[in-house]
Symmetry: C2
Subunit: 371 residues, 2 copies
């Protein structure tokens, strides 16, 4: 599985055993992370980035890996998340296959891959693991926790479970709980993988691999990550040139939008472990910040203590709809946090934070600049 | 395939051969239809209903089949489509498996099921077939053509190809062309069916049947037929009682919304022929009213001649978004048709016309009452 891990990523060994929220524990588990900039003497300039489902810890280029990262335009010297000022830590989620321990890792107790013997994974486990990394790097109190998408859930769990661990928070296209439309989408993605005979109850390998199931799951993902509005302008009803069609197949690719999905799916299916996908996807469905406090989601948000926060989202997001970022802002305000809610006009849907840096950059940069 | 056909549905034999728009022809083809009310002496009180992808011709109860139909609350004596006044005809789409000739029918030239040897099906073929039924019932000029969803496409094709065949039109949650988001969804639904090994390039039977593929396709359909807003209120994060879960399966059903999808899927998979599904689904992707006139979609709409029209849709529809009904209204107005555009507040998404009769009923009833 080493092909999933970015070169020169770093690893932090979690305390062993590491107890999981829903039961079970991990032994000799680790979290992959990368850093940018330098921790100052006061140790008060550290930022933590928590990611969506699929990214690794390589958010941007740095000295030991000059390759562009998944948030290259956002993070670096002089960029909105300015590594000249901030010491930035990005962790790969616990349960992922990009360096952190997950279902695709070896279980030290058996010497075999965990596969479905990995304990049930919660968003909260990822939050706890991230805290260990932060503390291990000598940071008692983060200047800011930034969470995107699933990372927005992880960030809220982090803040609620670890009071005082951060002064401020930016929640980007996140949610304080999963709602039924996104649960339905993710459930269907998981079903596509599980229905693929090659999934084989988690016992696949490189030669017998649930490629079709992963392709379906990814295509459905991409459909819900973008927006109809963007695609109307970008693809319209443009057909593929005949040499790019499979003319022998009467139901093969015909429209540009189909080819776009196919390209995305092909790039993804062998670069993300199917069992890890299932675990991380299910952890999002389970997430409800209210549960932690035995109340509703607003109670959970209101118990978070911060100096300042920012919740950003876009109107065209169908997976983490804008009302969910608005709810985060409202709930944090109830708890006394000075919180801005910034709805952006991006047409790109849920993925806008990755591509519409023109809008997201200034919003993030302004907030960090005000600290 | 007789189990798909409602009892006492009627059949109209199309002229043989019946030429298909994209080439090929059908021999001894038929269209299933049902009627309500009586044609008056002037023969000017006939309405035609064109359906979405899956419905049969049994839109409502009548003398020879008292079972409730798929639009029971809308159609009948004293209802918004009032069969005391109107002679109402509903046809099952050409290419469907509910009585009309389609890929699940016997090809008279071979004595075998057509399967993928059925000629390429276009929305326009369905429109032409419907016209034959109307003429065969002695109607030269319809008082109104009502089209829902795919039937809204069929209706526009009908009106453009057969000038003078109708005086007015109600387009409900329809579209004048397919756009990339809905193409992407339908393409993925077709891929789910085609990836099921039991589909076997169209050569399945009742014992070896692409049940998983159909289940995936239907679930994705249901997700896009409803809305996140409705589901938030209806399902929230409610869990299934433990006796309704498959506890042995770590990724089995857990939330009510998953069980709802599963129930819908189970009811559908054996009641709609997979090859027919593929053909009808693809015909929608191909549909572009502009193509017919060698121009853009507004040119196509502007060439339709009617006395009066109504375009209705709902804000929460992600499959046939409201802007598409607005476009229909604008295009028809350019052509001189007195057209109302009525956006409704239904939370139920694309399916609202089937379930939100409280809003759709008065809108349809008022329009028909004004004729």
């Amino acid at each position: 599985m080493t092909e999933f891990i970015p070169p020169n990523t770093r690893f932090f060994n979690l305390p062993s055993p590491f107890a999981m929220k829903r039961g079970g524990e991990l032994h000799n588990a680790r979290v992959a992370y990368e850093t940018w900039g330098a921790l100052n003497a006061a140790r008060d300039n550290a930022l933590l980035i928590l990611t969506g489902l699929s990214p690794d810890a390589h958010a941007a280029a740095h000295d030991t890996n000059p390759e562009a990262g998944w948030w290259e335009a956002m993070l670096g010297p002089g960029k909105p998340i300015d590594s000249n000022r901030w010491f930035v830590i990005c962790v790969n989620s616990l349960g992922s296959c990009k360096g952190s321990t997950g279902p695709a890792s070896i279980d030290p107790q058996t010497g075999e891959l965990y596969r479905l013997d990995f304990p049930e994974l919660s968003v909260e486990d990822g939050a706890d693991a991230a805290l260990h990394v932060v503390r291990g790097l000598g940071v008692e109190r983060l200047a800011c926790v930034i969470g995107n998408s699933m990372g927005g859930m992880t960030a809220l769990a982090f803040l609620l479970r670890h009071p005082g661990a951060a002064r401020t928070h930016i929640n980007i296209s996140g949610a304080a709980r999963a709602l039924p439309f996104s649960i339905a989408i993710r459930s269907l993605q998981r079903e596509a993988i599980r229905l693929d005979p090659a999934w084989n109850n988690g016992h696949y390998d490189d030669t017998r691999y649930p490629e079709s199931g992963m392709r379906m799951a990814r295509k459905l993902g991409v459909i819900t990550y973008r927006s109809a509005l963007e695609w109307d302008g970008r693809f319209g009803r443009v057909r593929l040139e005949s040499d790019r069609r499979g003319d022998e197949d009467p139901f093969g690719l015909e429209f540009e939008v189909e080819s776009y999905l196919e390209g995305h799916a092909r790039r993804f299916v062998r670069r993300f472990d199917p069992n890890c996908y299932l675990y991380l996807s299910r952890s999002m469905d389970w997430f409800d910040l209210g549960e932690t406090v035995g109340g509703d989601v607003m109670d959970g948000l209101a118990q978070i203590r911060l100096d300042k926060a920012l919740a950003i989202g876009v109107q065209t997001d169908i997976l983490f709809p804008l009302q969910q970022q608005q709810q985060i802002a409202e709930g944090l305000r109830v708890g006394g946090t000075d919180t801005s809610f910034v709805p952006l006009e991006s047409p790109q849907g849920h993925d806008a934070f990755l591509v519409d840096i023109e809008r997201f950059g200034p919003a993030v940069g302004r907030f960090l600049g005000s600290l």
